[in-house]
């Protein structure tokens, strides 16, 4: 890339570095004003061979998409600039103009064609089933996987294929947010197969020697570039650049370099370049053929199921958090000094690190020791995290009960335990109710993080819905309404309880 930013900040020379940064920014801005940019979006988390941080220089990205972006920019007389975007938000970002084109192993689909300007396909892939080598004889096709857990990337062609296989063969679909963990979980035995495109499947097998790819193709898809719907002029320019590169072998050179070239591409390029005006290869089935209303009706049952999962997960996690909170708070109020120190350290550790990290550690980090089912890992992660916050609420509530109440209890002969259960606890609970309600509502929403460890809850199901119909409007509204449906009654109940207690 012609336009890169590389800083190495040495603490001793920080002031100088800041000046350099400012200068570099100025120079960069001037340069950008001189040559127009081709801003292209992708997800560097997708990794090689698509887009990944250059291992030798993490400030740069490398991958076949990077090379294609360079090819397109050259053809347009522009300078390519990479913009990092989460894989699931590339469509929305390009539609709102965050960048000119999305290139990140993006699959052709009806949803994308309806909502966006889609380029001609530049790569044809097969959906490949990956299994553990020992299972290779018995799991050859999706039909062999009845009642088995099959991992994939959410909101992809493979996910659609699996959703159909779920109905047809009774496989259990386990959607991931990234394309690395399906293979690590397959290796440790958490899932029994992975269905993803051959590029990812090849990489997965290279990284995990115990895995093997089944030769049969389960479906075919295409990688395309996506632009905002109104950007058809640029799309047409890009299409001619791509076709030209197909003819003169520059695209082949790129895929040769990344060891992805095969006869499928030769055939694809022949078809795309021969038929200048005809329709591009049709993508396989997807919900986007339906109207928004029909799609909503179709997705409503799964949204309701996901809402139930969110609710059950939140209620159980909150129950666990309350139990943990009570134990920690009691230890910190009544325990000996060393116990208090340990508990304080624990609370600070949990509060001071991101919930997301904790979920990853519990689900993926511990996988070599204990393979917790995703729902249980989510429950434990949320429970432990919120338990730390609850304990602080209870501790301060316990300490807010006036000492006179405790003196009175003592002179009546109550033991410490009885005083806690009959007098201090109930009074503290009244003080804790409002912050607890607050925490529960926060937990309802934080529970959406567990989609990163494959639990399909409300937000995740909404994301799937939105990417399949290619719009966030209706799914977003529905999702918000469902969350409110869960949280409003709880807030209402808490307010009523508070009023009753205030009167009592």
């Amino acid at each position: 890339m012609a336009h890169e930013w590389r800083f190495r900040i040495i603490p001793r020379a920080r002031a100088r570095a800041v000046v350099c940064v400012c200068l570099a920014a100025l120079v960069g801005a001037t340069a950008a004003a001189q040559t127009p940019e081709l801003r292209w979006g992708g997800d560097a988390e997708g990794g090689a061979p698509f887009v990944e941080a250059d291992p030798g220089d993490p400030a740069r990205v490398v991958g076949f998409e990077v090379d294609i972006a360079q090819l397109l920019a050259d053809g347009l007389g522009r300078t390519p600039r990479f913009i990092q975007t989460g894989f699931t938000t590339i469509d929305a970002s390009v539609a709102r103009g965050d960048f000119d084109i999305g290139l990140s192993g993006i699959e052709d689909s009806f949803a994308r064609r309806t909502r966006l300007a889609v380029t001609v396909p530049y790569y044809r892939f097969r959906e490949i089933l990956t299994v553990r080598a020992a299972d290779a004889p018995r799991y050859r096709t999706l039909a062999d996987l009845r009642g088995r857990r099959v991992a994939t990337l959410a909101a992809t062609l493979a996910f659609d294929l699996l959703t159909e296989a779920e109905k047809e063969y009774g496989v259990i679909v386990v959607p991931y947010e990234d394309d690395v963990h399906p293979y690590t979980d397959l290796a440790v035995g958490r899932v029994d197969a992975v269905l993803l495109d051959e590029v990812l499947a090849e990489r997965g097998v290279r990284r995990h020697p115990g895995l093997t790819n089944q030769p049969a193709s389960q479906g075919v898809g295409y990688y395309v570039g996506i632009l905002a719907a109104e950007n058809t002029a640029l799309r047409n320019q890009i299409d001619s650049i791509l076709k030209q590169a197909m003819r003169d072998g520059r695209l082949e050179a790129i895929f040769q370099r990344w060891k992805m070239w095969n006869d499928d591409q030769r055939n694809l390029y022949a078809r795309v370049t021969a038929d200048e005006s005809g329709p591009p290869p049709q993508p396989q089935g997807s919900a986007a053929q339906l109207s928004v209303w029909d799609a909503t009706l179709r997705y409503l049952p799964s949204l309701v199921t996901a809402t139930v999962i969110t609710l059950v997960l939140s209620v159980l996690s909150m129950a666990l958090a309350i139990a943990i909170g009570v134990v920690i708070a009691s230890g910190r109020v009544y325990g000996p000094a060393p116990l208090k120190a340990v508990l304080t350290a624990w609370v600070e550790l949990i509060r001071g690190t991101p919930l997301l990290l904790q979920l990853f550690v519990i689900y993926y980090g511990l996988a070599t020791v204990v393979q917790l089912p995703a729902f249980l890992a989510a429950l434990i992660g949320l429970g432990l995290n919120y338990g730390a916050y609850e304990s602080e609420i209870y501790r301060s509530a316990l300490e807010s009960v006036p000492p006179g109440q405790l003196d009175a209890a003592r002179t009546l002969g109550f033991s410490d335990r009885q005083t806690l259960m009959l007098i201090r606890g109930p009074q503290a609970l009244r003080l804790a109710l409002a912050p607890m309600t607050n925490d529960f509502v926060a937990l309802l929403k934080d529970s959406s993080l567990v989609s990163l460890i494959t639990v399909v809850e409300l937000t995740k199901q909404t994301t799937i819905f939105a990417s399949n119909i290619g719009s966030w409007f209706v799914p977003g509204l529905l999702c918000a309404a469902l969350y409110l449906l869960l949280s409003l009654p709880i807030s209402h109940l808490a307010r009523r309880l508070e009023r009753t207690w205030r009167r009592a």
Binding site: A408, R410, T411, L412, Q427
Partner: protein, 222 residues
């Protein structure tokens, strides 16, 4: 025979000596008023007897049960102590989340292990005896100072202690109520209770106490 016998009692708070060498005896059915300015050590003597503050030196004997210097009484000793001593605090410290009636029967059920209906009946009787039967279902915040005090007395008396300690009982009362309280205490004494009342209200002390003891800077002055 005295219900309460204190010998050479010392109480400290940190490095400070709050009570020094206090000795006193109170006979059954007697009302002793302990007077003195704020900070004279009246409340600290009551708190040491009630097992709320540790005794630094000396002994306290209550109806045959002996407390001596050392950590706060716990377990069986604490239960024995509270069978003998009831305490009414200056600010009553009624359990804020419970009704007046519930405040009175709570210890009967959970400490004395009486069945709840029996405990409730007894609690209601006590409240009526003290003239606050009509307020049984009110919560502490709804009670006036005088009512709260009567509920607190009922709560302390419920477990039937021979000795009742009261800290500044007139602080929350208007003059008319002070007369009523003096009469109530006299009646309790005539029923055989022993009362130690810490107060700086001289008129009240004269009206109800059989004997007055003056404290000054932690010592018995006369």
């Amino acid at each position: 025979m005295s219900v309460l016998a204190i010998r050479d009692l010392d109480v400290r708070r940190g490095a400070r000596h709050i009570v020094r060498g206090v000795s006193l005896d109170v006979a059954r059915g007697e009302i002793l008023a302990v007077m003195g300015a704020s900070g004279a050590g009246k409340t600290s003597v009551l708190r040491a007897v009630a097992g709320l503050d540790p005794i630094a030196a000396g002994t306290v004997a209550i109806d045959g049960l002996q407390l001596s210097a050392g950590p706060l009484p716990r377990g069986a000793l604490l239960r024995e102590l509270h069978r003998r001593v009831g305490m009414v605090f200056q600010f009553h410290h009624l359990f804020e989340h419970l009704t007046a009636l519930h405040n009175v029967w709570l210890a009967l059920v959970h400490v004395q292990r009486q069945p709840q209906p029996e405990a409730e009946r007894q609690a209601r009787e006590l409240l009526e005896h003290l003239g606050v039967g009509a307020r049984a279902d009110a919560v502490p915040r709804e009670l006036s100072g005088g009512e709260a005090q009567r509920v607190a007395i009922a709560r302390a008396l419920a477990i039937g202690p021979p000795l009742l300690l009261m800290d500044e009982p007139t602080a929350s009362l208007d003059p008319a109520r002070r007369g009523e309280l003096a009469a109530t205490l006299r009646q309790l004494a005539s029923e055989g209770r022993t009362l130690v009342v810490a107060t700086h209200d001289e008129e009240f002390a004269r009206a109800c106490a059989h004997r007055v003891l003056i404290m000054d800077e932690g010592r018995v002055a006369r």
